[in-house]
Structure formats: structure tokens, C-alpha cells
């Protein structure tokens, strides 16, 4: 099953039984249905699926109005950069609304343009920037397990959050793990493999790169503990830091183009927690190519990583 098909199927299943909920966005029930993400949505009788005008700023405010009134709001958005128009609400309105107990959910579900073919719009591929400026929980979903956990537990739970999907993964086979996947209660991290030689922590949407590397390193006899990390407000990185202290090698992957990312803070905390280990952050470096259409791959050099591990 493809990533897109699974996300669509999961969303449909959850919304089919949702307590009073308004699901809305541009073209969510018309045309391509946001590239297929929202095709076939059906809600119980007291719910609503609404194609909206192109007014992103107000549509974010509408979500908070619904939430304040006790109606769940789910706003699907074709591109994360559209959310820039709603920054006033995700910061200022959220800051007002959050001081009273939430009685309903407001979730914004954008597609993060993490492939490079949209040119300038692809230069904004970082969900954590939005989460940081608004002190909001965010989730970047890359595989069956985080899709299941985050959508089932948070999409309709009282409060506000942003749940991002990958544009690059749309047509890819769904990533799924055979081993038991563990995670923190609030979804701040997920662990997929349990090797003792190296810890790999993947930020934003870099889990596919982390998985490829994990498999390649395994072939070389290097066993990896593979994690993904979400930009949630109450982060609990302790289990990852302990894992690093045991492995002695921490590789951090971050495909974001933001100059400021939680991966840098994580890197700093890891070095402080265990100065005797080796920490390496693989992050994109600024390039003028971000602003023109390109394949824009986030590639990790396996040989280089192997040498780093072996201290060559």
C-alpha cells in the first residue's frame, strides 16, 4: 500500500465515527481532493465536510472559533507554506484559547512540501518552525506506526496541534516495521529498531533516509537504534540520550531547511549528557538551489558515516 492510500484510509476511518466535527479546506471534497488525501470523506450526520474559499488566514481563525464552540475542527491544507497566512491565529488566537480548558479539537493537517519540484515553495519544509513560534505540538508522519498513533490519539483530541504529511512520500510504499515500535506517550519520539552500536535520530521527515542507512549499516554489521522525533512542546528526550550513552555513537539526521531546528538543541544536549561519545549532525546547508525546481534529495553518504563510526 502507498503512503497516500494509507493516510487517506486512516483519516476516513477515524472521521467516519467522529463526534461532531467540521472538516474543511480548499478542494477537500472536489477535484483532486488535495491530491487524494481527503478523497471520500464521510462524517456522521451531525458533522460537516466543507470546501472553502481560498482564505487561509481566516480559515485558521474559523478552526479556533469552532473549537471554542465545542465542535471539532480539522483543516486540511495542500501546502505547509499556505499556513504562513494563518500565523496570527496559530500564535495570537491560540495563546488566548489555550488559557481555558479545551472542549474540542482543532487540528491543521498540511502537506509539507519536502520535494524540491515546487521551487521556492519547497524552501519551507520545516514544521518545527511553526510549532516553535506558536508553542504548539507538531507531528511529521512518515510511516504506518506514527500515522496510526498520532491520528488515532491526537487528531480529534481536545486542543490544538499541527500534523504534517510528506509530499515526497505520496507515491512511495508505506514504511512499516516488523519489530515492535515503541513511543513516548505524547508522540514526541518513536523507536523502530533496537541495535546497540549506533543511535540514529531522525528529525522532520528524514526517517526514510534513516531507515535506508540503518539497513545499509546492518549489512556492514553495525546495529542501529532508529528513532524519529516530533516537535512537541513537552519533549522527553531522555530515552534517546540513554540509548546514545549506551551506543556511544549518535547520528542525527535533519532534512529541514530551517536555520534553527530542534535537532541542534538535541545535538547540544546529547554532547552535554555524554561528552565521551561521538555526535554527528547531518543537516542541510543553505543553497541557492532551494529556490528553483530540482530533485532536492537529502542524501547521506554511507561510506562517510561508516568511517565516522570506525573513527577513520
Amino acid at each position: 500500500m502507498k503512503y497516500l492510500e494509507y493516510v487517506n484510509s486512516k483519516i476516513k476511518t477515524i472521521l467516519a465515527e467522529a463526534p461532531q466535527t467540521a472538516v474543511y479546506g480548499q478542494n477537500i471534497n472536489a477535484g483532486s481532493c488535495i491530491g487524494g488525501y481527503t478523497r471520500g470523506l464521510q462524517l456522521p450526520e451531525n458533522g460537516l465536510v466543507l470546501n472553502t474559499p481560498n482564505s487561509e488566514n481566516s480559515l485558521v481563525g474559523v478552526g479556533f472559533g469552532l473549537m471554542l464552540s465545542g465542535v471539532n475542527a480539522v483543516f486540511f491544507m495542500k501546502q505547509l507554506d499556505f499556513l504562513l497566512l494563518g500565523l496570527d491565529h496559530i500564535v495570537n488566537t491560540h495563546n488566548i484559547v489555550r488559557t481555558t480548558p479545551a472542549v474540542a479539537a482543532f487540528s491543521i493537517l498540511p502537506i509539507i512540501v519536502d520535494s524540491g519540484y515546487d521551487g521556492p515553495q519547497s524552501s519551507l519544509n520545516t514544521l518545527s518552525d511553526f510549532c516553535s513560534i506558536s508553542s504548539t505540538d507538531g507531528y511529521t508522519l512518515t510511516n504506518k506506526h506514527d500515522i496510526d498513533f498520532v491520528l488515532e490519539n491526537f487528531m480529534l483530541s481536545p486542543g490544538f496541534r499541527i500534523i504534517g504529511f510528506s509530499q515526497r512520500l505520496i507515491k512511495s510504499e508505506l514504511i512499516s516495521f516488523d519489530e515492535k515500535v515503541t513511543h513516548s506517550e505524547n508522540g514526541s519520539w518513536f523507536q523502530y529498531t533496537y541495535g546497540s552500536d549506533m543511535t540514529i535520530a531522525c528529525f522532520n521527515l528524514s526517517l526514510p533516509q534513516g531507515l535506508l542507512l540503518t539497513q545499509a549499516l546492518k549489512a556492514k554489521g553495525i546495529m542501529v537504534s532508529l528513532f524519529s522525533i516530533n516537535p512537541v512542546l513537552h519533549k522527553n528526550w531522555q530515552p534517546l540520550l540513554l540509548n546514545y550513552q549506551n551506543s556511544g555513537h549518535l547520528l542525527i539526521l535533519d532534512d529541514t531547511k530551517s536555520a534553527s531546528s530542534p535537532s541542534q538543541q538535541f545535538s547540544f544536549e546529547a554532547m552535554q549528557s555524554y561528552p565521551h561519545g561521538k555526535v554527528r549532525l547531518e543537516k542541510r546547508q543553505f543553497s541557492e538551489s532551494w529556490f528553483v525546481p530540482s530533485s532536492d534529495e537529502f542524501n547521506i553518504d554511507l561510506v562517510d558515516i561508516s568511517h565516522w563510526y570506525k573513527g577513520i
Partner: protein, 309 residues
């Protein structure tokens, strides 16, 4: 009319007196927070407060003292909010002035960001439509917010989703220290509303009794037609003064925006101007002198019972 004219006049007088008391505290430097008084806005506030039904919601702006006071009806409670010494408020948390709300009494949301509450109000309107509870939001805004994209976007959303709502523009002609003509071209709201097939109404002259009848009617039509209505209310925010110094030998008009109004005195507890700009002046004309004096006395007594005069 749901309330008799004496009740409405008393509400209006008490609202004016409350603001004058707050103004006196302000002059003495009692507040650490910014407060935007709304002297001159009393007629529309009393009308909205009177016409809003149980399940209706109010969404306010930074200048919200008039609506909040009418729901509290206690000068002491409002002062406590502004002094950050909360004891009687029904809000969940301290909000100061510019974001003061009161969800339990229907003031569901207040924002100090220009135009911000319009979109939230549109969401409230959609929720109320989904709940089928025959209620609507009253969304208050000012002439400054007309310049924000969210004003247009929110009207568009309300109309596109067939949501009843009463959107009220308190047009005082000023944004901070610039008048409309100093900052932008004219906006013909009636034409803007027409372009969206939204009913538009213009109110002026601060007649609270007339306003109540009309707001009741507009609310009802909005619900019946499943459509927002846009109401522009021409008013003046009272409290201006003339600055005279070496730079302005002939005097410079200073519009009241926020903070204390230095020339407004509590020695006259109610009236500020003998003009149609002052709702107190307009309301007074509906009463015999003795009736009017009694009403004022009753209001002063009520406030005195709170130990404030």
C-alpha cells in the same frame, strides 16, 4: 422592544458612569495595563447587550469595556479585572483589558489583534449553525479592521457557508492617531456588502431605543435568511482634547484612543458633550427632567453601594 426605555436608559447611564470612574482611576495611574475606554459607544453596546439572546455569542476587540461592563454590571468587578485583582470575574484567567472575555456570560472571545476576531466569529457562526440552536454570534469590529484582509475573508466565509451572524463595525473614524482620510481611500461598505449579497445597514445618531429595535430586527433577518448582516455604526469615541504648546499655538486636536481622557471630569458623572455624538445627551431628550434626574440618582446609588463614589 424587550426592555422598557427606563431600563435601557439606566443601563446606558451606568455604563457611562462606570467608564468615568475607571477614567478617574486611570488619571491617578492606577492601572499597569492599557485600557481603551469607549465613552460615546454606549448606545450600540446597550442595544447589542439587550438583543443578544441566551445562546448568542459576542466576539470583541481591544476596545471592549462597554460590552464587558454590561455583562458584569459591577464597576467593582471591572476594576478588579483592570487592577489584576480578580475576585468576581467569570473569566477563567486574568486577561487584563484588551483580551477581556467572559465565556459564561456569552463573551466567548476577545482579541486585541485587528480583524482577528472576525475569523474566529465565523467559526463560531458555523458551529452554531451545525448545532442548530437558532443562535448567532455578534462580531464587533472597528473601521481600522476594514483594512485587514480578514474582514473580507470572514464575510466571504460567512456568506459562502450560509451562516447567520451580525457583524457590527463601530466606525469612529480613527485608527490610533490617524483619521480615515489621513490613512486610506474611502471604503463604501454598502457596496462591499452588496458585492457579496450581504444585507448592509447604517446606524448613526446614538439613539439607543432605535438601535435596539433595529438590532433585534437585523438579528432575526440574519437567522431567517441564513446570511450574515453587516451593520456600520457611526459614532465618536469621546474624550478628545486640544493640545496647546509652543509647537501648536493654535491648539492641536488629539483624538482619544486609549489611556485616561484628561479633560473628562467625574464632577459631571454622565454627560460629556451636548451633541448627538454623546448617547447620554441623545437619551436624555426622551425623559422629563424629573424622570431623568431620578434615573441618574438611581444609578449613582447603585454604584455607591459598591463603595465607589
Amino acid at each position: 422592544m424587550t426592555q422598557d426605555i427606563k431600563t435601557l436608559a439606566k443601563k446606558l447611564l451606568k455604563l457611562r458612569l462606570a467608564q468615568k470612574i475607571i477614567n478617574e482611576y486611570y488619571k491617578k495611574g492606577a492601572f499597569r495595563i492599557p485600557i481603551h475606554l469607549a465613552m460615546g459607544h454606549e448606545a450600540i453596546a446597550v442595544a447589542v447587550d439587550t438583543c443578544a439572546q441566551n445562546q448568542d455569542k459576542l466576539l470583541l476587540t481591544h476596545r471592549n469595556v462597554h460590552y464587558n461592563f454590561l455583562r458584569m454590571s459591577s464597576v467593582r468587578a471591572l476594576l478588579n479585572e483592570y487592577l489584576l485583582e480578580r475576585s468576581t470575574s467569570q473569566s477563567y484567567v486574568s486577561r487584563g483589558s484588551m483580551n477581556l472575555d467572559n465565556p459564561l456570560s456569552g463573551i466567548i472571545y476577545t482579541s486585541s489583534i485587528l480583524g482577528n476576531n472576525l475569523a474566529v466569529g465565523a467559526g463560531v457562526a458555523l458551529a452554531q449553525k451545525m448545532k442548530k440552536n437558532n443562535s448567532i454570534p455578534f462580531i464587533l469590529t472597528g473601521d481600522g479592521a476594514l483594512e485587514e484582509g480578514s474582514f473580507y475573508e470572514s464575510l466571504l466565509f460567512l456568506k459562502s457557508t450560509n451562516c447567520p451572524a451580525v457583524v457590527i463595525v463601530e466606525n469612529n473614524g480613527w485608527s490610533l492617531a490617524t483619521s480615515i482620510s489621513e490613512r486610506r481611500c474611502h471604503i463604501d461598505l454598502s457596496q462591499l456588502a452588496k458585492s457579496l449579497s450581504i444585507d448592509y445597514h447604517f446606524l448613526d445618531e446614538n439613539n439607543v431605543f432605535d438601535y435596539v429595535q433595529k438590532i433585534e430586527e437585523f438579528r432575526s433577518v440574519s437567522i431567517t435568511k441564513n446570511s450574515p448582516v453587516l451593520i456600520e455604526v457611526k459614532l465618536s469615541t469621546l474624550g478628545h482634547w486640544i493640545l496647546q504648546n509652543q509647537e501648536h499655538i493654535n491648539g492641536k486636536f488629539i483624538n482619544y484612543h486609549a489611556g485616561p481622557a484628561p479633560k473628562v471630569e467625574i464632577s459631571e458623572p454622565f454627560l460629556i458633550e451636548e451633541s448627538v455624538d454623546d448617547p447620554v445627551f441623545v437619551t436624555q431628550k426622551y425623559f422629563q427632567n424629573s424622570e431623568w434626574d431620578q434615573l441618574k440618582k438611581d444609578v449613582v446609588n447603585e454604584v455607591m453601594q459598591e463603595g465607589l463614589m
